[in-house]
């Protein structure tokens, strides 16, 4: 087991290098002068040159990359907008986003797995059709529009819940539901199909043939196996939630990393954009690592072969 985890860690190294390189290169992907891009169209040539020198944009690319990574690791990478280290701006926002994402994933897993299991065990019944259609609606709902609709209903019309900001438990309800809607649908579909797959296996017949109740066959023998692929999907969905936060946080003015990212892009605060991208990617990669390990806990075949 220890070896297994170590190996997975080792496999992360090239991905981490790639992630930082991508975030770094995106800046240079832009047509024209990155210094001009940061300074804005109105800035004078002297200001641009000063900025170029200040950020080392006149140095060779590999040197710039090294500086960028160093800035990330030491936390010295400075924000253009706030004159403070980018990390100091990002980390508190990240915490807020994580709170939101965790609330959403809990909603999505509980509702999604339940709907998926019911759908699979009541195949071709009205439960299955209803769950399928609702799931597909959930997957198809544009987050920002869905947010606006719920806000219109619960904040503007009914005035039950606040329309934005962060603070009490009531503040998190709408954003968490909105953000988790698509994931609920996807987890439900995935659970359903892996459950149907498992229910066809011979060992399910074996379990029924020894006289287990239908409930035990489903909850013990089928669910345990069906959850193995679902766990991967949950991991991927966590990433989707981090990304979806960009939109949800904008709708509900939730002070998270997604909103920071958007405002930083619009304000051309590139160091913060890059650092935020790297941080989200890192988080996502580590969540997937955790999922891999969980996978091994659930599936003894991997545990011993890995």
């Amino acid at each position: 087991m220890g070896r297994f985890i170590l190996r997975r860690f080792a496999m992360l190294i090239p991905v981490l290098v790639g992630v930082s390189l991508t975030a770094f290169l995106i800046l240079h992907l832009a047509p024209g002068d990155p210094a001009r891009l940061m300074a804005g169209v109105e800035a004078s040539q002297e200001d641009v040159d000063m900025l170029r020198h200040k950020f080392g944009l006149d140095r060779p690319l590999p040197v710039q990359y090294a500086m960028f990574v160093k800035g990330l690791v030491t936390g010295e990478l400075m924000s253009l907008r706030f004159e403070s280290p980018a990390m100091e701006i990002i980390l508190p926002k990240l915490k807020n986003t994580l709170i939101l994402a965790c609330a959403s994933i809990v909603v999505a897993v509980v509702l999604g797995v339940t709907a998926g299991v019911l759908s699979a065990t009541h195949r071709k019944s009205w439960i299955d059709y209803a769950a399928t259609i609702l799931s597909l609606f959930g997957i198809s709902m544009p987050v920002f529009w869905w947010g606006l609709l719920l806000m219109l209903l619960f904040s503007v019309k009914l005035m039950w819940l606040p329309s934005g900001g962060m603070g009490t438990f009531r503040h998190i309800i709408l954003p968490a539901v909105v953000l988790g809607t698509a994931s609920t649908g996807i987890i439900a579909r995935m659970t359903r199909s892996s459950m149907l797959d498992v229910l066809r296996q011979d060992y399910i017949t074996t379990a029924a043939a020894k006289g287990l109740t239908r409930r035990l066959v489903v909850n013990r023998h089928a669910l345990r196996n069906a959850l193995i692929p679902t766990v991967t999907v949950v991991g991927l969905q966590f990433g989707q939630l981090l990304a979806g936060a960009v939109l949800t946080e904008t709708v509900f003015t939730w002070p998270g990393i997604g909103r920071l990212l958007v405002t930083s892009i619009l304000a051309r605060d590139l160091p913060v954009v890059q650092a935020a991208l790297v941080i989200i990617a890192l988080l996502f990669v580590f969540v997937n690592l955790a999922v891999d390990i969980l996978y091994a806990v659930l599936d003894p075949r991997i545990r011993y072969n890995g």
Binding site: P14, V15, G18, V19, L21, T22, A23, I26, L27, L29, A30, P31, L37, T132, I133, L136, F137, I139, S140, M141, P142, V143, F144, W145, W146, L148, L149, M151, L152, V156, R189, S193, L196, D197, L236, G239, Q240, L242, A243, G244, V246, L247, T250, V251, L261, V262, I265, L266, V273, L277, I280, A281, F284, V285
Partner: protein
């Protein structure tokens, strides 16, 4: 589908599935509207008439008017065109590059595969809309850059699906048999592997059409999509948001359009998945 009888079997399964039929109907309606937008739309989608600002729903403006007095129905109809262009071209980019890389890695394996997959892992490490957001933020928001950004961020999905499918097909005896009768590599990939690996790619293409539209609209909503006055659903919604309390109906129709079209592709994709995957059928 290369195979007649198998193709008709798939068609029959789809037509027997009410969800898939509903999806197909939505898609066809969408294509029709996008194709004939100038003939259907009652008004010029960019013609302003400030006297009709936020005009309510009426016979003349079945969806009312926006803040500049533009007819919302006409903007929705032309917006379908914009969406379709984005969907089509970005999915094409992703499909061609992704299938090529995935097939290459999956068939030959080894270091080449390892290298391709690591690059894909890096792209996948930026989840969801983020990669597209970053690319479009740097390239500048316009239709072409939007297509590139969304296309690039969809590549890894196609590459992974194709790779997985190719790997499982490659293990079939008919591929070994093809080697035994002396077929060359390219012929094996094109005649034996890809035709049999195509089902998941078709499904992915359909489902991607849905995701891509959501992403484009999301970028539009953040002000990073197609710029006004070009009619685009996400951008329309972004503007409408400012008047949410005074004129909520302006926000309803663009969102509804996005949802309906995305739903259409997801319904159809779901039906296609069932129809092409007989394992799930008894």
């Amino acid at each position: 589908m290369a195979d007649r009888s198998q193709g008709s079997l798939v068609a029959r399964r789809i037509l027997r599935n009410p969800i898939a039929v509903a999806g197909l109907a939505i898609i066809l309606g969408y294509l029709f509207i996008a194709a004939f937008a100038p003939h259907i739309a009652p008004f010029d989608p960019t013609a302003q008439d400030l006297s009709r600002s936020f005009a309510p729903i009426s016979a003349g403006n079945p969806m009312g008017c926006d803040e500049f007095g533009r007819d919302i129905l006409s903007r929705i109809i032309f917006g379908a065109r914009t969406s379709l262009i984005i969907q089509f071209f970005s999915v094409c980019i992703a499909l061609v590059i992704g299938v090529f890389l995935g097939a290459l890695g999956g068939y030959f394996g080894g270091r080449l595969d390892e290298a391709i997959m690591r690059v894909m892992d890096v792209l996948l490490a930026f989840p969801g809309i983020l990669l597209a957001l970053a690319i479009v933020a740097m390239l500048g928001p316009d239709l072409r850059n939007l297509i590139i950004a969304i296309g690039v961020y969809s590549i890894p999905q196609f590459a992974r699906i194709t790779r997985g499918s190719v790997i499982s097909v490659r293990q079939n005896d008919y591929v070994t048999a093809a080697r035994a009768i002396g077929e060359n590599q390219s012929s094996i990939i094109l005649r034996y592997v890809l035709p049999n690996a195509i089902s998941p790619i078709i499904i992915q293409t359909t489902l991607r059409m849905a995701t891509v539209l959501l992403t484009a609209a999301g970028l539009g909503f953040l002000g990073l999509g197609v710029q006004p006055p070009e009619p685009e659903w996400g951008t329309m919604l972004s503007n409408a948001r400012m008047y949410l309390r005074s004129a909520p109906m302006v926000a309803v129709f663009p969102g509804l359009s996005i949802m309906l079209v995305v739903l259409g592709f997801n319904f159809f994709g779901d039906g296609l998945q069932d129809a092409l995957n007989p394992r799930l059928k008894e």
